[in-house]
Symmetry: C2
Subunit: 66 residues, 2 copies
């Protein structure tokens, strides 16, 4: 398992937190959003998933990964 922390812009409320964490869960990983820190920390299995796929899932929800 690998952990990565991404800087993400545009997350503003608990609905945003839910939509991002749900999108990451659907990939089979675990995401934790820190709203005030504007970060998403992700635990994922490197053999199954790349960080690029996770970034795309977050961007697909309408947020910018810096």
């Amino acid at each position: 398992m690998k952990q990565a922390t991404l800087q993400v812009e545009g997350m503003s409320c608990n609905h945003c937190v839910n939509s991002i964490e749900k999108a990451i869960k659907e990939l089979g990983a675990e995401g934790k959003v820190n709203l005030s820190g504007k970060t998403v920390t992700v635990d994922y299995d490197e053999s199954k998933l790349t960080i690029e796929t996770i970034k795309e899932a977050i961007e697909d929800q309408g947020y910018d990964v810096v």
Copy 2:
């Protein structure tokens, strides 16, 4: 039909817009959120609904009606 505009704090994104407009629709009224203006304009039938009920529905979604 009556129209009222409420000042609402805490609305920050399109998820907030959706949750408020949906809650108002479930009461049988029509709500329109203006995010930058921090307002919700509601068209409702005074014979069926009071503005207090609408305010409560917005507050139940986690927002403050000023």
